[in-house]
Symmetry: C2
C-alpha cells in the first residue's frame, strides 16, 4: 500500500483483542451463537507449553455445555488428578520430609466430574480454537491494536446497533503503514495482566503485590519420590514445593522463593527470570524434597518461569458497556488455587450470551451491567480467598523449632474449605435483574444464583438415562424446567394441563418473549420432569412437544442411574416447581407451578 | 491413454475390494497398524441412508479399542436403545394389540455398554472413514476389479512378501480401456452378499433361502403408539411388526410379508421391491398396529426395501490364505438379531492383526488359517441361532384361535437366551495355535477364547480409575496381564521379583519375540495388577517400567469405581495368574505365575 491510500476499513459486531483463555472462550461462544465476531492476537502462533495448566470441575462443565467434544478432548489430552498427598517435615529437626496423609484431589461432591484435568494452556485453548475452526472462524495472529476511539455520543452509546468503537489494527507481517480500521459495536480486551486495552480505556487495577514468590518448572522427572503422579503439597524446613502431574508424563514443580531470593531485582522489587535458572531452582527443590531424589530427565526443561504473586482487581470491567475487559486484564491472583485460566474463561462465558442477546435485540443494553456486577464480585471473593489460601503455602510449617508455623491440620482444613473455589462450585451470583430468589423455598436445594446441579433422569419415551446438564447446553436459550409433580396422579396431571394452557396463551411470557421460529423457540427451551415411574410415559401434549423433552424421575432399565431427583433438588413431589436455568447454566429463578405471572415479570425485566 | 499404451501397474501389500462394514473395518485396522493398504468400492459415494442399522455392544467395544473417538462418535450420532416392549394380540379374538411387558433392550451383564446404538450403515462406516482420512487414507470409489489372477506357484504362495495377486481395476470415471494392474501380497473381498470376488475365486455358498420375507421402512412416524421410541416387538393376528428407533427422530419398521405376499415374483421365487410400495407396506403395518395409528410423517420415506431371508455360509473363507472374503460375502442371515454389520466387522477385526503379523514377518502364514477356523465356525453358530430366532418372528402368536402359535413366554425366553448373540458376547474361539485353555482354572471366569471382561482398576501412582479395556487397545500387541498377588505381602512380592528376573532373561519369550525398539516392545505390552490396597504403591522395577502400567485392585479415592477384580476374574489373590489378551481383545491363554515356560511354548507356536 502506498502512503497516500487510506487504510482499509471494515465492520464487525464484536472485536476481541487477545486470544488467551478469556478471548477464545468468548470467540467460540459468540461464533456458536451466530454472532459476527473477529479475534486478534499479537502472538504469531498459539502457546505450545507452560502458562496456566488445568481445568477445574466447573470449567469442564462449561466446556461440555458448548459441545461434549470439548470436554472429551480435554479428558483425552490432559492428565486427570484424583489424589492429593501431603508431606511435612520429619520430626526431630534433622531435615527431610515424610508423607502425612492422602486426600481426594478435589472435594466437590456436587461436581459432575469431581477432579481437575491438567493440560498446558495452549492445549486448552486449542480445543476451543478447533471448535471455532469447524465453524470457519480463526484467530488473526501477529495483529495488535494501535488505537481505540470510543464514541462519546449518548445516542450512539445507547444504540446497540451503532458501531461505537473504532480500532486501528496493525499486522506485523505487513508493512508498518498498512493499517486497518475496524468499526465494532462491542469490543473485548482479553489481552492479559498487562492489558493494553485496559490501560487505553484508563481503567486502573486495585490491590498489591504480595511477598509470595515462586519458581515453576515443567519437565519429565527422574525421581524416586513415590507420589510424583499425584498432586503433592510438600512443606519442609527448607521451604515449600508442590507438584502437579500433567500430560505426557510431565510434572509441574512449584518451588518457593524466600523474600531474600536472588530472583528479586533490587532495583525494581520485581521477580526477574534472568537472575536464576531451572538448575538453580531444582537445587532448591532437591533440598526441600530430601531424602527423595528428583532430577530433570535428560535435562529437558519444557517450560519454566519465576513470578511474584499480585492480587489485584480492575476498578471496573467496562466502559459504557461497549468496551469490556476480561480474564487477567481484570484480575490477578496466585496460581495455587488453579483459578487464573478458569476464572478467565468463566468471565467470558458469563459475558457472551448477554452480548448475543443485546445484539439480537432480545434484551436492552442494561443486561450487560450484570457482567461486571456478577464477575467483579466473584473476582474480589476469589482474591480474598487467595490471600488466606496462598499465605498457607508460603508460611513455614509448624515444627519443634517453628512453633508459630502452620500446622498440617490448619493446612488440611483450609484445603477442604477451599474446594468450593478450587472447583468453581462456590460461584453464587447475587440477586439482580436476572437472579431472583424470592421463591427459593420451592426448590430448596437448587440455590438461585448458583449453577444448576447435575442429576440423571430418564426419558419417558425411551427410558434413556440422561444427565440434566446435557439438556442445558450453552445455546443462548433460557431453559424452563417444569417439575410437574406425578403424571400418574390425576390431580397433578390436571394441574399440568392447566399450566400448559396458561403457557400457551398469547399473553404468556413464552409466547411474548419466546420468538418461535419454525416451531422452535429462539429464547426458551421447555423440559418437563414427572415424578412418576417409568411406566407412566404419557404427558400432556404441550409438554411432549418433542419426545426428548419429557422426562421421569426414575431409574433406568438396569437400575444403575437416575431416581431421587425431586428429593435431591428439594422439590415436593406433588407441589412441583418451575426452575429457570440461564443460558450459562446458572439458576435464574425458581417459582411455584401456580405463579406463572411472577415468572413473566422476571423475564419482562430483561427481555423485550 | 491411447490403446497402445500398457496399463499402469502398481504394488500394494493389501488390496481391499468393497468398502462396506467389513472392508472399512479392515482398512482402518491395517492403516492404524502401519500396513500399506488400498481400498476400492464400486459406489461413487458412501451410503446416506438405510441398510444395516446398528452397533451391538461388542462392536462398540471393538470400535473403542481402535480409538475412543470412534465409539464416542457412534454414541453421539446414533440412538441408544435401552428398552424393549412386547405387544401381543388382545384377548377375545377381535383384533388389536396390547402391551404385554417391558424388558431391557439387551441382556448382556458383562458388556461394557449394555445397549446397542442405532445409526444407518453409512454413518457407522463414516466413523471409520473419518479415522482413516486422519491418517491420510481414503476409499477409491467408482472402481471395480475386472480380473484376478492368483499365483499357483508354491514358492510364491508360501512367501508372504510375494505379490501373488494380480488384480485389474477399472474406474468408471475414466475411459473404458484406462485400466490399472495392482499387484498385491494379500487381497480381501468384502464386496457383499453377491460378492464378485467370491464368485471369481470359485467359492460357493452353502445353505438356503427361508420362507421369511420382510418389508422395511425408515421414516419419522406420525403416531399415537406410545412406545415408538423403544425397540418394540409386535405380534398380532395379522402378522408381525417390529420397530427400531434410530437417529434423527426416525424409526425403522419391519413388516412381515406372508408366503402369499405379492412381493414374491412367481417367476423367480424371489422378493421383488417393484411389486409393492412403502404405502402398501404401511397399510399392512397399520392393520397390525391397531388400535394405534401410525403414518409416515409428511409422507417422507427415507429408505425402504423388501427382502427374503437367506441363511448361507461360504464353504471356505480364503484361497491359499492369500485371497480372503469377509462379511456378507461369507455369510447371510436375517437382520432380526442385528448381526449383519456386526458379524462383518468382527470378521475383519479378527483378520487384520493376523495379516499385519504375517506382513511384518512376526508370524508364519499358517497364523492366517485361524481366520477361517474362528470366523466360519462363528458364522455357522450364528446361522443356527438365526434359524430358531427368526422363526419366532415369523410364526403366529398363540391365541384362542391359534393354539399352536408361539407363546409370549416362548418368545421372551428366546429373546433372553439370544442376548449372547445379539450382544456379540457369545463369541468363543475354540482351542487352536492361538487359543490355549489348558490352565483355564487359574483365572476361572476369564474364559479362554472369549473377549476379555471389562473391569475398573486404579493406577498405583495416581489412583486414577481405569477400565482394563482401555489398556487393551487394538494396537496389534499381545497384552501380558500379570495378576501378581498382593504387593504388600512379602512372599507375593518375592515371587513377583523372581518372575521379573525370569521374564528379563535373554531366553524368555518376551526378549525372544518382543521386538523391543527404543525401550518399547513391538509385539507385547506388559501390565501388572496388584491385589493390594491403594497405599501399597510400590512395584518391582521390571513391572513399573512405566507408571501407567502398575495397577491396584482397589476402589478410587471417592470409592465409586474399582475393587473386586481378582474375585470377578476368578483369580486367587495370592496365587495370581498371567492372562494373555490377543491384539483383538480375546483371551489367548491363562497360565500360573510359575509357568512362564508354558507361556513361551504358546508364543513359539505362532511367533517367529
Amino acid at each position: 500500500m502506498s502512503c497516500s491510500e487510506a487504510p482499509k476499513e471494515s465492520y464487525v459486531d464484536v472485536l476481541i483483542i487477545g486470544a488467551g483463555p478469556a478471548g477464545v472462550m468468548c470467540a467460540n461462544a459468540l461464533v456458536q451463537a451466530g454472532v459476527n465476531v473477529r479475534i486478534i492476537d499479537k502472538r504469531p502462533e498459539g502457546l505450545m507449553a507452560g502458562q496456566a495448566d488445568g481445568c477445574q470441575p466447573r470449567t469442564l462443565e462449561i466446556l461440555h455445555s458448548y459441545d461434549s467434544t470439548l470436554s472429551e478432548k480435554i479428558f483425552r489430552r490432559g492428565e486427570i488428578l484424583y489424589k492429593t498427598t501431603f508431606y511435612n517435615p520429619r520430626p526431630g529437626g534433622h531435615g527431610g520430609i515424610q508423607k502425612t496423609s492422602n486426600a481426594v484431589s478435589i472435594n466437590a461432591p456436587t461436581a459432575r466430574w469431581e477432579y481437575s484435568v491438567n493440560l498446558h494452556q495452549g492445549g486448552i485453548e486449542g480445543v476451543l480454537l478447533e471448535a471455532m475452526a469447524e465453524k470457519g472462524s480463526r484467530v488473526e495472529r501477529s495483529t495488535v491494536p494501535t488505537a481505540i476511539e470510543l464514541s462519546q455520543l449518548p445516542e450512539d452509546l445507547q444504540n446497540p446497533t451503532a458501531y461505537v468503537a473504532k480500532v486501528t489494527l496493525r499486522n506485523f507481517e505487513r508493512a508498518e503503514d498498512d493499517l486497518e480500521i475496524v468499526h465494532a459495536k462491542f469490543i473485548l480486551g482479553s489481552d492479559g495482566a498487562h492489558s493494553w486495552v485496559r490501560k487505553t480505556l484508563g481503567i486502573s487495577m486495585e490491590g498489591d503485590n504480595t511477598d509470595s514468590i515462586w519458581g515453576v518448572i515443567d519437565m519429565v522427572p527422574d525421581t524416586d519420590f513415590p507420589d510424583f503422579r499425584t498432586k503433592s503439597f510438600i512443606h519442609s524446613d527448607h521451604g515449600t514445593v508442590f507438584i502437579i502431574p500433567r500430560e505426557n508424563d510431565m510434572i509441574r514443580v512449584y518451588i518457593q522463593q524466600g523474600l531474600d531470593s536472588v530472583v528479586i531485582d533490587p532495583a525494581t522489587g520485581r521477580a526477574d527470570k534472568s537472575r536464576t535458572s531451572p538448575e538453580k531452582l531444582m537445587e532448591q527443590g532437591q533440598k526441600i524434597l530430601q531424602p527423595y531424589r528428583m532430577e530433570i530427565k535428560d535435562g529437558k526443561v519444557v517450560w519454566w518461569t519465576v513470578y511474584m504473586v499480585g492480587q489485584r482487581v480492575a476498578e471496573k470491567y467496562s466502559t459504557d458497556e461497549r468496551a469490556f475487559i476480561a480474564g487477567d486484564a481484570c484480575h490477578t491472583h496466585s496460581p495455587k488455587a488453579g483459578q487464573g485460566l478458569n476464572a478467565s474463561m468463566g468471565d467470558t462465558h458469563n459475558l457472551a450470551w448477554k452480548v448475543a442477546y443485546v445484539l439480537q435485540g432480545w434484551s436492552p443494553l442494561s443486561l450487560l451491567k450484570t457482567y461486571e456486577s456478577e464477575r467483579r464480585t466473584y473476582a474480589q471473593e476469589l482474591i480474598d480467598f487467595d490471600k488466606s489460601f496462598s499465605k498457607l503455602f508460603s508460611d513455614r510449617p509448624r515444627t519443634e523449632v517453628h512453633q508459630n508455623g502452620v500446622t498440617h491440620e490448619q493446612f488440611l482444613g483450609a484445603f477442604k474449605t477451599a474446594s468450593g473455589f478450587t472447583s468453581g462450585m462456590a460461584i453464587r451470583y447475587k440477586p439482580s435483574s436476572i437472579v431472583n430468589d424470592k421463591h427459593q423455598s420451592v426448590a430448596a436445594n437448587l440455590v438461585v444464583g448458583e449453577r444448576m446441579l447435575p442429576h440423571v433422569f430418564i426419558r419417558a419415551a425411551s427410558s434413556q438415562p440422561i444427565e440434566i446438564h446435557d439438556m442445558l447446553p450453552a445455546d443462548t436459550r433460557f431453559k424452563i424446567l417444569v417439575f410437574a409433580g406425578n403424571m400418574a396422579d390425576v390431580a397433578d396431571r390436571a394441574k399440568l394441563e392447566a399450566l400448559g394452557e396458561e403457557l400457551n396463551k398469547p399473553e404468556s411470557f413464552m409466547r411474548r418473549y419466546g420468538r418461535s421460529e419454525g416451531g422452535k423457540w429462539q429464547v426458551f427451551d421447555l423440559v418437563c420432569f414427572s415424578a412418576a415411574t417409568k411406566d407412566a410415559v404419557d404427558f400432556p401434549e404441550f409438554f411432549r412437544w418433542h419426545w426428548t423433552k419429557a422426562l421421569l424421575d426414575d431409574t433406568d432399565m438396569h437400575e444403575r442411574f437416575g431416581g431421587g431427583g425431586y428429593a435431591k433438588f428439594g422439590i415436593d413431589e406433588h407441589a412441583g416447581a418451575i426452575v429457570v436455568v440461564r443460558p450459562d447454566g446458572y439458576i435464574g429463578i425458581v417459582v411455584p407451578l401456580e405463579d406463572v405471572a411472577f415468572l413473566g415479570s422476571y423475564f419482562a425485566a430483561f427481555l423485550q
